[in-house]
Symmetry: C2
Subunit: 324 residues, 2 copies
């Protein structure tokens, strides 16, 4: 089987690729497991060297529309490519081109294949926002109306709707999953407004200072990298019948606060580790983060066997284990 990952040079795309290659075979869309023969990693940047070294991996580096024009087909597509929340807010046209137009290009590519592939689209809980004219959302369920308050959230929600309609028309076997903020992400900070939710753990563990730009008791919802990959793979794996509604599915997350995260860091890595966190509020980031709801009831995901981590301590420990 051939698998295509857009955004295959990014953190989630690379981690997903490693996991698929390690498994060696994958069950897709309710079919029996089949051997992974080719894994195409499409991105503006080249994949990591360890991935390129695998004979099953082929790098497709360049603009997504150009890359797709050269691809023959795929049994499974993970569409992860996009620009993050902060970047889409700072450059509206870039966000529209990368998060909306490129998603349309992926959908049109799927539509023009002889056999419609299974497409897993990574949406985001940023589709939810705090509408200034309305009370705050206390808890998000599978039926909550998203009222995005960022361009990123708007573009992701539009992507979900397009995936659902292309699936309804039979152009693609589409499944949209809303990813929680992933923490702890390795590597360098990115332009996501939520980037600090990894930074306040990652940087102190490396002996570096990190800024927390929101008040310590701000409620936030998170998911570990491992649970995030499990959600993406489960979306690829199940039959259309098990997947059910074409409306996007929110993946599970745990609700915590930066203060509780700092306490977990000290418990796992040693007292005083969190002293490297500098608590300096940034109104622009507070506005975005406070707009995202922090409490979720993810019944659909649970019915597919997806559950959040039990504690943030486990997430910190898993990050440290992965570093070694």
């Amino acid at each position: 089987m051939r698998i295509l990952i857009t955004g295959g040079g990014g953190f989630v795309g690379s981690a997903l690729a490693r996991r698929i290659l390690a498994a060696g075979s994958l069950a897709v869309g309710g079919a029996p497991a089949a051997e992974v023969e080719e894994l195409v990693l499409a991105d503006l940047v080249a994949p990591a060297p360890d991935l390129v070294a695998d004979p099953r991996v082929r790098a497709a580096t360049g603009d997504l529309a150009t890359v797709l024009a050269g691809e023959q087909g795929a049994d499974l597509v993970f569409h992860l490519a996009g620009v993050v929340s902060g970047a889409a807010e700072a450059d509206f046209d870039l966000g529209m081109a990368t998060n909306l137009d490129a998603t349309r290009a992926v959908l049109e590519w799927c539509r023009s294949r002889a056999v419609p592939p299974v497409l897993v689209f990574s949406s985001s809980i940023a589709v939810f926002g705090h509408d200034p004219a309305l009370p705050r959302i206390e808890q998000v369920t599978d039926d909550t109306l998203p009222r995005p308050q960022t361009s990123y959230g708007t573009q992701k929600l539009i992507g979900e709707l397009l995936v659902a309609d292309y699936a309804r028309k039979g152009f693609v076997r589409g499944r949209s999953v809303r990813l929680m903020t992933v923490s702890v992400r390795p590597g360098r900070p990115n332009a996501a407004a939520s980037g600090f939710l990894s930074g306040i753990i990652r940087e102190p563990l490396a002996g570096e200072r990190a800024v927390c730009p929101v008040p310590p008791d701000t409620p936030v919802a998170l998911s570990s990298p491992r649970r995030t990959l499990e959600g993406l793979l489960r979306a690829a794996e199940v039959s259309d019948e098990l997947w059910g509604s074409r409306t996007a599915m929110t993946l599970p997350g745990i609700t915590t606060t930066p203060r509780a995260m700092a306490a977990a860091l000290d418990r796992v890595a040693g007292a005083g580790t969190s002293d490297l966190i500098e608590w300096r509020e940034d109104p622009a980031i507070i506005a975005m983060i406070e707009g995202w709801p922090a409490v979720f009831r993810t019944d659909r995901a649970r019915a597919l066997g997806l559950a959040p981590e039990e504690s943030f301590d486990d997430i910190v420990q898993a990050y440290i284990d992965d570093l070694r």
Copy 2:
């Protein structure tokens, strides 16, 4: 003041134009009423002769993108242009181009004006649909999650989201209103799946046969042409503060059935008039109509003073009065 109506050659656009011209002045976006100096009617077809005859009216006939390129600006835009549900379902690419890309062109045009105009976007209750994996929606409120089950509904919902995000960014003063099925529409049948909800009244009143393609007791929600225009004008009139949430507002409607509509026709126009209705079911139309919810609680609209007609008898009587 200058007003631009896209879809200005259609039924709702023409009726709106006549009403604005008769009023002579309009309050827009919370400002005091101002004289209507120019009314631009943009459409692929030329406006009706009575409208062209008004010295304040200018026809801008042609493709919307081309028409917009020649327009300097407007204080108020009603974006009504689009292809209807049946046509968008039959020709997916046409629907995407006309209902999605053209809406983006209108938004970009508004964004590039020196002063962002007030934009009223006509969405539709077709954003709601019966998700085959879920129970039917019993009642739609302002917080109900739309799960569109037609390409038309999907494209309208995407339009709403774009209007909201362009408004949030300050590119336009956008307001999206979800129109009910309008009944009784004058003129000839169109490609809307809901067209029969006008036809079963209009044709018998003209002594012609009409087909009702759904079971007589199918619940449907309707609004009269008059109430629909009132909703569009109220959306244009109020201040940003009064308008409130940037999420689309559903306009009021009455819940009835084809059987009750036929009975109203007989009461108003004389016993036996409805004998010209032929009850012949069409599974494709039943599937679309049954997907649209029929019971609405439109609190936001009510708070702006918008209410549905009291009975379908009144709607039939008003249609007959207008014909004379």
